[in-house]
């Protein structure tokens, strides 16, 4: 079975359209962010209320309790079974951060939870205690995560710059920023909650985007070595077309995997799966529509619209033509 042989699309030629799409996505995301004030953070970022509820026999399993909370208007709560020497059976611990930003009145939050539980368990549950609970992700952890990611991106840039040319490194990293911003914008647009696992999903997105971009660039590097007479734009287009079947296959299969998680993986990892779904789409898109055109634009600006092969470590430098 062969699906994608012999496709010849002028990707680079259409770069104006791609830039327009990218800018539109980014702008929409920015508007949504500005309009809504900030991201929808989960209880681990924001804090809220922690409650102990005890249920009469027969004790409902966790997913039934979760269902009741979702349907009753208290979605995105964290539910854990509680056991121990001083704990009666049927006790659950519920953490909830509210829906609007700045909603920290514990009495109000408790009422929301109680009402939600009443939809399925009216008269069969009883509140043992409730308290304010602070965020589990302090500003420290946030800052560290951001710093770690920036360092990681720096490492990627340097490595790609070393193995290809520095513009390829810069283009790849720029594509990553583009992907992350678009994903965050879409999160804001759809009021998706950002919690700890979403952070992991964003990192996966980064890894996937870089992987995809390097595969394209690697083909470009290989082509530039042998095709001395073609200009960069043609080589870029051909490289993308040659790797297209691989790109569609890999993206398609990986996309299918995370789509399954998104559709059937349950509510808690839904935000996580959503980030991955968007990430794979955008990550694939950016290798073709953002990273490659950037390389062309830069090279053109430097007046090298020609046959400057990438001085990878194995190719002798004298082959560089200006």
């Amino acid at each position: 079975m062969e699906l994608f042989n012999g496709i010849k699309v002028d990707w680079i030629g259409k770069r104006q359209w791609f830039f327009a799409v990218s800018i539109a996505l980014l702008v929409i995301g920015m508007i949504s962010l500005v309009h809504k004030g900030k991201f929808q953070y989960g209880v681990d970022f924001r804090g809220g209320i922690t409650m102990k509820e005890i249920f009469d026999a027969p004790i409902p399993p966790v997913d039934r309790v979760r269902e009741a909370l979702d349907r009753g208007g208290a979605a995105h709560s964290e539910i854990q079974e509680l056991n121990g020497t001083n704990v009666l059976p049927g006790t659950y611990q519920i953490e909830y951060g509210g829906t609007a930003s700045g909603e920290t009145d514990t009495n109000h939050l408790r009422d929301v939870i109680t009402r939600a539980l009443d939809t399925s368990f009216a008269g069969k549950h009883h509140n043992l205690s409730y308290e304010f609970v602070g965020p589990s992700v302090g500003s420290d952890l946030r800052r560290q995560a951001v710093m770690a990611t920036l360092y990681a991106l720096g490492g990627i840039l340097i490595y790609i710059a070393f193995r290809f040319e520095w513009i390829y490194g810069a283009a790849a990293v720029f594509a990553v920023f583009h992907d992350t911003l678009v994903t965050l914008g879409i999160f804001s647009l759809f009021n998706r909650e950002i919690n700890l696992t979403v952070i992991a999903a964003l990192l996966t997105l980064v890894g996937y985007s870089v992987n995809d971009t390097i595969v394209v660039f690697d083909r470009v590097r290989e082509n530039l070595k042998v095709r001395r007479r073609d200009d960069l734009e043609t080589v870029l287009n051909d490289s993308i077309n040659q790797t297209l079947s691989r790109t569609i296959l890999t993206s398609g299969l990986t996309f299918m995997t995370v789509l399954a998680l998104f559709l059937f993986g349950g509510e808690i990892i839904n935000n996580f799966a959503f980030a991955m779904v968007i990430g794979i789409l955008v990550g694939t898109y950016s290798s073709i529509a953002v990273a490659s055109p950037l390389v062309l634009i830069y090279t053109k600006l430097r007046g090298q619209n020609g046959i400057a092969p990438i001085a990878a470590t194995k190719v002798p430098r004298t082959a560089k033509a200006r």
Partner: protein, 525 residues
Amino acid sequence: MTKRLRTRLVVIVAFTLLSVYLFAGFPPSVANMKQRIRLGLDLQGGVQLVLKVKTSDAVRAETDQTIESLRAQLVKQNIAVGELTRTADDQFTVTGVDPAKSSDFRQIMADSHSEWSVSSAGKDAYTLQLQKAQADNYKSQSVDQAISTIGNRINGMGVAENTIQKRGTVDEILIQFPGEKDAAHVESIIQETSLLELKLVQGTGSFPSKEAALAQYNGVQPAGMEVLPSVERATDGSPTYYLIQSSGGISGRDLKNAYVSRDDNGRPAISFSLNANGAERFGPLTEQNIGKLLAIILDGRVQSAPVLRGRISDNGQITGSFSPQDAQDLALKLRSGALPASLSVEEESVVGATLGADSIRAGVTASAVALIAVVIFMLLYYKASGINATIAMLLNLVVLLGALAYLDATLTLPGIAGVILTIGVGIDSNVLIFERIREELRAGKTAASSVLTSFKRVFITLVDTHLAALISATFLFLFGTGPVKGFAVTLVIGLVSNMFTAVFVSRTIFEIELGRKGRADSISI
């Protein structure tokens, strides 16, 4: 099959068996797996502690510090005073103030200690009370600091995937960490304040009992002094006590660093250094008391009481009979910050997985279905070579699990994100190779040479993608905490094992196939 191929096959099989043994034991069973692969709090649940911070400790420390500061200021301005004595956590009295200098005294208080209210307690005495708002402030700060310190300690021990939150609005901290095996050790590390204090000893030595220490004061503990037990024992093994001057010392809040070292006899010891604030006070303290004993107090017990031989400004050493593990634990506790106040465990319970068993089941089912779909597609699209890819990817997961078990790494949901990325990269690697083989075949090359060339060329691509990802994962591991670190761990292992399976294993299978049918024959791809 050539000898070379046979060796490779043996290596692959051996590796696979080893990995299976590492994560599933022998004979392999699910029960073994549960034991050998550590799951994080989100997947498995763990222990929950509610700790109460004794905020009055923090307030008392502030009061002591104010007393010292005021004493120094009064001396500098030549205002004679009698006694400065702490009477409550947030209150102290000053007696014997020259009535002529009373306005100067009030001025000093207003200028540098405005959070204290001054009231007269007689002709030459004053009572100073810390204002409630400020006291509350110190209390809340001490809780924040406790949270930060506990976080440092738990992470310093490598307990991944823990949560630390403030509970209530006053003085409670909620902690969750996975697994129950190490609960006792974690609790001990968290709870011990490791409040380091350096205070002067009253007298020239230790006493065999509290009563003996107070005998010179008729059995009544004088204000400004306390009797503390020591970890040292007398020659006959009985406990010893020291009489300590309560105020005028250095506390652990002034610590800059602490690390394991060796004392003069080569035994494990802990060296510490003070920050500028502490050094500023430690210098004069030691200088003015040369010849006296300085008690090094940990959590209210005297570790040792060496004679002050000279001025020390900013560092010292704690010696004693520490085992290497003790010294390490103590240095960690000191380094991560002394707890500003002592903690007591209010509640202890076992909590279920934050993700919920239902969610985990759904996730596992969804992933399994997806992966089966991927395998079916690969078989359809690449025919018999799809089997290669399937074996390679399966092996990748097996090796990954084995490595996780061997390294005693904790698997969390962010870690699973790393696994998903590894699967994606694995699919990518196989597709890259197969597409290349198809290209070569289309260009008219023989099956054998196509396979050879493709693996060689794609190897370069794979090196670049994998190294780039490895470099970034390393940075994430080094500088990230919690979920970021968990993600990095599985990614690093997954990438390394992928290079092995997608290249070495896949190629071996291809070559075995080719060897069977003869060189110029075709391959099913």
